[in-house]
Symmetry: C2
Subunit: 314 residues, 2 copies
Amino acid sequence: MAKAPRKAETSIDATTADLVAVLVAVTEGEPKIMTIATALPSGPFQFGHRSLQTGLRAWVEAQTGHPLGYVEQLYTFADHGRTGDARAPHRISISYLGLTREDQVREDSQAHWSGWYEYFPWEDHRAGTPPLIAKIVAPKLRAWAKSAESTSVQKARSQRAAITFGLDDRAWNEELVLQRYELLYEASLIPEAVRDKRAGEAAVPGRAMISDHRRILATGIARLRAKIKYRPVVFELMPAEFTLLQLQRSVEALAGRTVHKQNFRRLIEQQELVEETGAMAAETVGRPAKLFRFRHGVVAERAVAGTKLPLSRS
Amino acid sequence: MAKAPRKAETSIDATTADLVAVLVAVTEGEPKIMTIATALPSGPFQFGHRSLQTGLRAWVEAQTGHPLGYVEQLYTFADHGRTGDARAPHRISISYLGLTREDQVREDSQAHWSGWYEYFPWEDHRAGTPPLIAKIVAPKLRAWAKSAESTSVQKARSQRAAITFGLDDRAWNEELVLQRYELLYEASLIPEAVRDKRAGEAAVPGRAMISDHRRILATGIARLRAKIKYRPVVFELMPAEFTLLQLQRSVEALAGRTVHKQNFRRLIEQQELVEETGAMAAETVGRPAKLFRFRHGVVAERAVAGTKLPLSRS
DNA sequence: TCCATTATGCTCAGGATAAGTATAATACGA
DNA sequence: TCGTATTATACTTATCCTGAGCATAATGGA
């Protein structure tokens, strides 16, 4: 490695690295995340940990009693501006996305599953655009845009608001979860922004979290919403056997919007990701559905080929 | 944050975090990366740095004299197994992808641009599949697959080799850069694997790098190859004015494969990402081409909508 | 003048996609 | 027992996207 001028006089450049998990499950058509009070499962990366992932697994299992299955890295954040002191050692958060099922949870821990739309009420468009966007978010963002001094900044702000929240007849893009959160933060419309010593009134509903955990959660949701469209990751969240409608409901729960039923089936079937078990679903209203299971053998191929998701236009 | 059992007795869980940059440019149809001897530009994250990105920018500018433009985070690695001692403090590498142009480089630094295919000769398929895949890579991987004890592992290995390298009449997937590197590492066919105390002979050509920098480079190439298909990032690598063929050659250089010319133009034009400057290219063979410039105004919209790339089947 | 070379316009077939129509199978209440 | 609500599943249709190829235009040089 090449030498370079040192930026600080300090000789030890030690930082503390936290491992943070966004642990997701879908139960009865509702997406859930694992929380401990107002925090995500997390803990420091320690000497004893052989790797980042094993460290994360150790912490999550200790705190929630839940063994981690599928895991992928999300993003690494440094806390900027939280502590005003530039001399204080840095704290880094390395975040991960984990996918499981809600069962097999140890009940004696402080860990709980909670619906992720409690933290992001504006993200659930399954029953149409939620009213709070037109009633609260849009007007507040318009006011924020107007409050800029120069006309060009005003324009840029309102364009940004319109794009991220699908205002002015623009299409809603469900993947922009993080952009929407950051916009609300910058506009000081959520508790985290007020807490971090910005002016404002936290006008937009939705549960806040400790430090930057809600930002990390937004990152995880955005990643998952993007990924279900080209990788068969939904199956990590499904039980061993399921009907096609249950699969569809899970996808819709994650994407926060509805899907064309017939086309969804066609897509799933032509991908050859599932096979019939031969059994039928019991205890249903209406005509009983065939049960399917995931074809694990195809994953190796499909992990490469890609999977898509047909979102409705309306 | 919830309490949890400590995994180690040590009370200080300090780690050292390195910032590593994969800095990319494309000059005359060749993709280049910034190197300092056999390393990527890098340096420790220090107290004085306000954020990870500013720290990275400081290091890269100090080491290369090159100001960083577009930057995005890639991945965070921890060195596992390099030092066998589990007690030694961890070293974390937070890697970034940066895009620029080769000009405006300070020439007195030790930093140099080098072609990225020198590090990954098997990744350049612009003139068809490179011969070294059939001559060296494929046979060595087959031998590695056969060397497994159980039949099931043998099958899994050869299937993995076939998928990642497009063997047995499978299609080449240019995005699997990291998977290919990791496969060669596991099969002990490259110098890094031999160095890290595995058996083997490093039979596959290609320049190695310090520590895990070549793995980081593979991560960066893979990310860039995926991203040019749905975000207009190519323009960060182009001069202010360019012909459509120059743009195409840059895309091909990055993707490592050719593109259908007419369809490429159709796609670019219908996306409305560029506009004519009115001038024509000078000093050409054949019919002179129109010069185009990137429409910066569209980025805000397009950053959302997505861009695609028409790869040829052949 | 002919040819090599690059630019650019246009067509066409096949496949994917969104959306709608129609029919089948079940439970339940009047 | 007969509708009716509800869900499952099979087809149809129109449109758009994509890969691929053909044709023509403009330039310089032999």
